[in-house]
């Protein structure tokens, strides 16, 4: 039922102000990203000298910068590695999280309270950077792809939301499957998982986006550039200001392309996220909501 409400002048003034403010906040969130995209397709010669907000490509729109960075070998190495890490991490974390969630939701598993305790305690206290590094070193994982995957294999938060989701499935389903002769793994992956696919999808999305953006473990555990994820090369380009050495024929124009190529690299590294963003953002919202329900 819509309420009839009298709007006084103060209320109207507030509403107008509020609508404008919300628009301004949205613009502030959006403009830096837009600025980078527009700068990346601007005329190479003009970008360096311009210090204002770039709302529309400067000069003649061009894709020269993109042509230039395709000749930068490390971008391709980074892309390949990152895609591998994303897929591998989703597989590892996905499988282990489902198994852990299943285990912790089984009432017939008599140690589930102890196991829950063991798992949640790690949220409260952790060993710290150096001891973790030493463990990984001792295991011989340093400078291998495993160092990028195994230490991040499980997250308490994901296990808890998976457990909550699995616990809401009636036990009778499992029992009837068992009577039909289904084994434990068949039950988990053929019966339980399809019923929790919304939660599972949210977890996989969180893992994938976090992995795409991850760089710190690479800094700690990897020396070999061939194993670097994309974000490590982005760090070299953007933070350490390493010049992008392209093998393309525009080599002699390094000075002009220096800044433009940076913008192009940002777009190239962020585009996959921005492309899937409209589709995944509603899942993220539901993910935050699932997480907020106390497990």
């Amino acid at each position: 039922m819509a309420m009839v409400e009298k709007k006084g002048p103060a209320r109207i003034a507030f509403l107008i102000f509020n609508y404008i403010l919300m628009g301004v906040i949205a613009l502030i969130c959006f403009m830096p990203i837009w600025h980078v995209i527009m700068a990346s397709v601007s005329d190479p010669g003009l970008v360096d000298a311009y210090s204002g907000l770039i709302v529309w490509p400067l000069g003649e729109p061009s894709l020269y910068g993109y042509g230039y960075i395709t000749g930068y070998k490390n971008i391709w190495v980074g892309y390949g590695n990152t895609i591998f890490y994303v897929i591998a991490q989703c597989l590892i974390t996905g499988t282990l999280t489902v198994l852990a969630g299943y285990l912790l939701s089984r009432k017939r598993f008599r140690y589930r309270n102890i196991l829950t305790g063991i798992i949640t305690f790690t949220m409260l206290f952790h060993g710290g950077t150096i001891p973790t590094y030493m463990v990984i070193r001792k295991l011989g994982l340093l400078n291998t792809r495993w160092a990028m995957l195994l230490p991040m294999a499980l997250m308490v938060f994901y296990i808890i939301i998976m457990r909550t989701s699995i616990a809401s499935i009636p036990d009778s389903l499992e029992e009837s499957a068992r009577i039909d002769g289904a084994g434990e793994f068949t039950i988990v992956f053929k019966i339980i998982l399809p019923l929790c696919k919304a939660t599972f999808a949210v977890i996989i999305l969180f893992v994938a986006v976090a992995k795409w953006n991850e760089w710190f473990p690479a800094l700690l555990y990897l020396d070999d550039e061939k194993l670097y994820p994309l974000q490590m090369f982005m760090r070299e380009i953007l933070i350490q200001q390493t010049d992008i050495q392209s093998s393309s024929d525009a080599m002699e124009n390094l000075a002009i392309y220096k800044l433009l190529a940076k913008y192009c690299a940002i777009v190239a590294a962020t585009l996959p996220i921005l492309c899937v963003y409209p589709f995944v953002q509603k899942y993220f919202v539901s993910g935050v909501m699932i997480g907020s329900v106390k497990g």
């Binding site: 919300m22 830096p32 852990a100 060993g127 150096i130 463990v135 409209p278 919202v285």
Partner: protein, 304 residues
């Protein structure tokens, strides 16, 4: 003996569950509990070749060195000050944003603003810091605006120790305000609408309604978020700091976690680094427990 027979029967019946348990337990043992044992390195002159059993014990030497050294005051102060600013500015921002957005009654406008405001959250830390570096360099967008407003010459703001914290906190808000508001918007939508109708009949204005209905309605969400925030109070993002700081800004930017990184991975002083990290972890955990206890005592809302 009946205990063992009992376990044996249970094992036979639920063998697969026991097997499933192994990888999970093994992972936690190796990647969480082994490092916890590893903190004893804080009391050693740790040498990775000799390992924990072979390295000489030095007692509390590293802690004494840390607290009497040149950097303890600097990193502890910076960590507290940055955390404190983050708490005052960055914690209420999503709440205020959610409250204001909740007043927007046009569904489409609200949806568009919401969707755009989450966007910065998904940009990687490295890229975001790259954009910050670019905008704050002399001649960059933000530097130019600041120069115009203050009438000074454009300079590299990020290299200026007096601007560092403002940039750090400001960009935190920029990146987190939309995403952080999701949970409050959900809490707001679950506030009983009849309360507002009743309040209107009683003659309460909008402001009064916000104060007496809306805020109490979302207070438990606010408290939970506050406890979590307090628990991470001193875990000032080492990733962001490592990307943004430079020797020129160490004075205001260097925090405990970045000192841990430098001592461990640049000076290879593992024992000292572990000691500083342990100090940070203990303070963090204490903060979390105290906040949780206070909150349980005074508001009956708590994490555990």
């Amino acid at each position: 003996m009946s205990f063992f027979r009992n376990v044996a029967t249970d094992f036979r019946r639920n063998k697969v569950l026991y097997i499933l348990c192994i990888p999970i337990l093994a992972w936690y043992a190796i990647f969480c509990y082994a490092p916890m044992v590893g903190v004893v390195m804080a009391f050693q002159n740790f040498n990775p070749v000799k390992g924990i059993s072979g390295s000489p014990w030095v007692g509390f030497k590293h802690f004494v060195d840390f607290f009497t050294g040149n950097y303890a005051w600097r990193v502890i102060r910076n960590t507290f000050v940055i955390s404190f600013y983050d708490l005052i500015f960055n914690f209420p921002a999503p709440i205020i944003f959610a409250l204001l957005l909740n007043e927007v009654k046009n569904k489409y406008y609200k949806k568009v603003v919401q969707t755009i405001s989450y966007m910065p959250y998904f940009i990687s830390m490295v890229v975001m810091c790259g954009i910050i570096v670019d905008f704050t360099k002399s001649g960059g967008l933000i530097s130019s605006i600041v120069a115009m407003l203050t009438g000074t010459e454009a300079r590299n703001l990020l290299g200026d120790a007096s601007c560092y914290r403002a940039i750090y906190i400001g960009t935190n808000i920029w990146q987190g305000v939309g995403y952080g508001s999701i949970i409050y918007l959900a809490a707001l939508s679950s506030v009983d609408q009849e309360l507002y109708e009743a309040a209107t009949i009683d003659g309460a204005g909008r402001w009064k309604q916000t104060l007496h209905i809306t805020l109490p309605g979302i207070s438990s969400t606010i408290i939970i978020m506050l406890i979590m925030k307090m628990g991470m109070m001193l875990a000032v993002g080492s990733e962001k700091t490592l990307l943004l700081y430079s020797p020129a800004t160490y004075e205001t930017a260097d925090v405990i976690s970045t000192l841990v990184y430098r001592k461990g991975f640049e000076d290879y002083n593992y024992g000292f680094s572990t000691a500083v990290g342990l100090f940070n972890s203990v303070v963090n955990t204490t903060f979390l427990l105290i906040t949780n206890w206070l909150s349980r005592k005074y508001s009956e809302t708590s994490l555990f």
